[in-house]
C-alpha cells in the first residue's frame, strides 16, 4: 500500500471475559488497525465476539485487558465522535422523527435554528419528507433504521460503528438499505466498522473484511476487497465478488 494512511483506530491485544457463574472468554487477544475513511467489516459466527469488540470501541464495555486507541487517545467511555448504530431498535419511541434526528445536536448544545437546518437536510437525505412530526411507531423497520443512521450522522462523527444494523430487516429491505448506506458512505467518507454475519453484505460494503473465529474470538483472516466503487447490483454478480465470497465462506467453514 503506497498511499500514506492515518490510523484512526488501534486495538492492541484486546481480551474480554464476561464474568458470571461460568466466565466466558469472548475475545482472545484481538489486534486490529482501522485507517481513516476505511470501511471495515467484521464477519464471524454467532458468539465470535464481534459485537463485544465494537461495544468496546464504542466505550460501552471495558476490555478485560488490552487497549483501544482512537486518534491516539485511549477510549474511556462512549462519545459522539464514535457514532453507534444498534442491532435492535434504538430510536427513541417517545420522540418524533425530528427530535430523534436532532438529539445529538441538542446534546452538543447546537442552537435551535441551526439544529432545524441540519435536521431538515438529514430528512431530505433519507427521503422522509412529511414524516418529521411522526412517532417511530408510524415508521417501517427500514425507515426507522435509516432514521437511526441519520441521527448518528447529524453530529458528523469521525467513526461509525454499525452492529448488525440490518439484521432484523427482511432480505429485500436489507439490500435496499445496503445501497443507501453505500451511497451515504461515498458521499460522507467516514471510518466505518460494520459487524455482520452476512458475508455478502460485508463484501458489498467494505474495503476490508476481517473474519473472526468462533468463541473465543480471534482474527482468523483478513481479506482486502478491491472491487470498484460505486458498487451496484452488477457488483453482486461479478466474478470477483463471487470469488471473494467463496474464499471467505471457505475460511468460515474451516473454523
Amino acid at each position: 500500500m503506497p498511499e500514506p494512511r492515518r490510523r484512526r483506530l488501534e486495538m492492541r491485544d484486546v481480551v474480554h471475559v464476561y464474568e458470571g457463574k461460568t466466565a466466558t472468554r469472548a475475545l482472545d487477544g484481538v489486534s486490529l488497525d482501522v485507517h481513516d475513511n476505511e470501511f471495515l467489516a467484521i464477519v464471524g459466527p454467532v458468539g465470535s465476539g464481534k459485537t463485544t469488540l465494537v461495544r468496546i470501541v464504542a466505550g460501552f464495555l471495558r476490555p478485560t485487558s488490552g487497549v483501544v486507541l482512537c486518534d491516539g487517545a485511549p477510549v474511556t467511555g462512549p462519545g459522539p465522535e464514535r457514532g453507534y448504530v444498534f442491532q435492535e431498535e434504538a430510536i427513541f419511541p417517545w420522540m418524533s422523527v425530528r427530535d430523534n434526528l436532532g438529539f445529538g445536536l441538542l446534546a452538543k448544545g447546537v442552537v435551535a435554528s441551526e439544529r432545524e437546518k441540519i435536521v431538515a437536510e438529514l430528512v431530505r437525505l433519507i427521503g422522509l419528507e412529511g414524516y418529521e412530526g411522526a412517532y417511530p411507531k408510524e415508521l417501517s423497520g427500514g425507515m426507522s433504521k435509516m432514521v437511526e443512521v441519520a441521527r448518528v450522522l447529524a453530529t458528523d462523527p469521525a467513526i461509525l460503528l454499525l452492529d448488525e444494523p440490518f439484521g432484523l430487516l427482511d432480505a429485500q429491505t436489507r439490500s435496499k438499505m445496503q445501497d443507501q448506506l453505500s451511497l451515504l458512505w461515498e458521499e460522507k467518507r467516514k471510518t466505518v466498522i460494520l459487524v455482520t454475519h452476512d458475508v455478502e453484505e460485508a463484501i458489498y460494503l467494505a474495503d476490508r473484511v476481517v473474519v473472526f473465529t468462533p468463541r473465543p474470538g480471534r482474527i482468523k483472516v483478513e481479506v482486502t476487497v478491491d472491487l470498484p466503487r460505486p458498487r451496484s447490483l452488477e457488483t453482486r454478480f461479478s466474478p470477483a465478488f463471487l470469488a471473494l465470497k467463496r474464499s471467505i465462506w471457505k475460511e468460515i467453514g474451516r473454523a
Binding site: A58, F60, G79, G83, Y84, A90, F92, P93, M95, F103
Partner: protein, 273 residues
C-alpha cells in the same frame, strides 16, 4: 382513543346497571325474609333494614343531598384526596427516580420501603394523630404516605425498566446525565409512573375514609360512613359507598385519560386502538 373511551363508559354503565338490578331483587326478597330486629352487643335495635329497598335508598339520598351534607362531604373529602395525592406523589416519584439512578441510595432505602410498604393506614392513624395533631395535616399526611409508597415503587420500577439500548444510544450521542434524565429516563418511565398514580388514587380514596376518623367532624364522607355505622343505618352506608364508588370511577377515568395522552407514542395492541 374516542372509541376506547366510549366502550369503557358503556361497559361501566352496563355492569353497574346489572349490579343495581341484582341489588333490587336481593332487597325485595330480603325485606320479606330478614329480621327487622337485631341483637347488637348489649341490646336490641328495632326497625333495622338490613337490605333497604330502592325507596328507602332514594329517600335517604334525597335527604343527604337536600340537606347539603352529601355535596359538602364530597367537596371536603375530594379535596383531601387530591391534596394527599399531590403531596405523596411529589415525594414518592422523585425518591423512586433517585433510588433507581443512585445505587447507594437504593442500597440504603430498599429495606425501608419493603418494611413499610404494607403498613396499613389504620395502624398509622393514632400515631399521626399524636404527632401531627387532630387537624387537616394528619389526615392529608396519612393519605400522602400511602400514595408516596405506591408512586415510589412505580417510579423506581419505571426507571429500572428503561431499555439499556436507549441509555447507551443517548450516551453515545453525547448526552449529559441531566439531559438523559429529562429526555430519556423521564419519558420512558412516565407510563409506569402514571400507572402507579392511578393505583395510588384508588388507594387515596380508601385511605381518606380511614383518615377522616381522626377527630371526625361533618362534613366528610369518612365521618358520614362512621356515623351511619354507629346508628346503624344501612341506607346511609349504601349511599356513602355508592358515592365513593362513583368518585373512584371518575378519578380512574381521569387518570386513564391522562395516561392515554402521555403515551400516545406507544405501540398499542389492536384491541386497545
Amino acid at each position: 382513543m374516542n372509541g376506547l373511551w366510549r366502550r369503557r363508559l358503556w361497559r361501566a354503565l352496563l355492569s353497574l346497571g346489572v349490579l343495581a338490578v341484582l341489588y333490587g331483587i336481593a332487597s325485595q326478597i330480603g325485606s320479606a325474609l330478614l329480621p327487622r330486629r337485631i341483637w347488637m352487643v348489649a341490646h336490641y335495635i328495632e326497625d333495622v333494614e338490613l337490605l333497604p329497598p330502592y325507596a328507602s335508598l332514594l329517600e335517604e339520598a334525597v335527604f343527604l343531598v337536600k340537606s347539603g351534607i352529601l355535596p359538602r362531604s364530597i367537596l371536603v373529602s375530594t379535596a383531601r384526596v387530591l391534596e394527599g395525592l399531590a403531596l405523596g406523589a411529589a415525594v414518592g416519584v422523585p425518591l423512586g427516580l433517585s433510588m433507581a439512578r443512585v445505587a447507594r441510595l437504593e442500597w440504603l432505602l430498599d429495606p425501608w420501603v419493603t418494611f413499610f410498604r404494607f403498613t396499613p393506614a389504620l395502624a398509622l392513624l393514632p400515631l399521626y394523630a399524636l404527632w401531627f395533631g387532630l387537624g387537616e395535616l394528619s389526615k392529608i399526611l396519612l393519605i400522602a404516605t400511602a400514595v408516596a409508597v405506591v408512586t415510589l415503587l412505580g417510579a423506581y420500577q419505571g426507571v429500572r425498566d428503561v431499555p439499556r439500548v436507549y441509555l447507551e444510544a443517548a450516551k453515545s450521542l453525547g448526552a449529559s446525565d441531566g439531559l438523559i434524565l429529562r429526555k430519556i429516563v423521564w419519558p420512558a418511565a412516565l407510563p409506569q409512573i402514571l400507572s402507579s398514580v392511578r393505583i395510588a388514587l384508588g388507594l387515596a380514596w380508601v385511605t381518606v375514609v380511614v383518615a377522616e376518623l381522626i377527630k371526625a367532624t361533618m362534613p366528610s364522607l369518612g365521618y358520614l360512613l362512621a356515623l351511619a355505622g354507629a346508628y346503624p343505618r344501612v341506607s346511609t352506608i349504601a349511599v356513602g359507598i355508592v358515592t365513593i364508588g362513583v368518585l373512584v370511577l371518575a378519578c380512574d377515568a381521569a387518570a386513564l385519560g391522562l395516561y392515554a395522552m402521555a403515551t400516545r407514542w406507544m405501540k398499542r395492541s389492536p384491541a386497545d386502538a
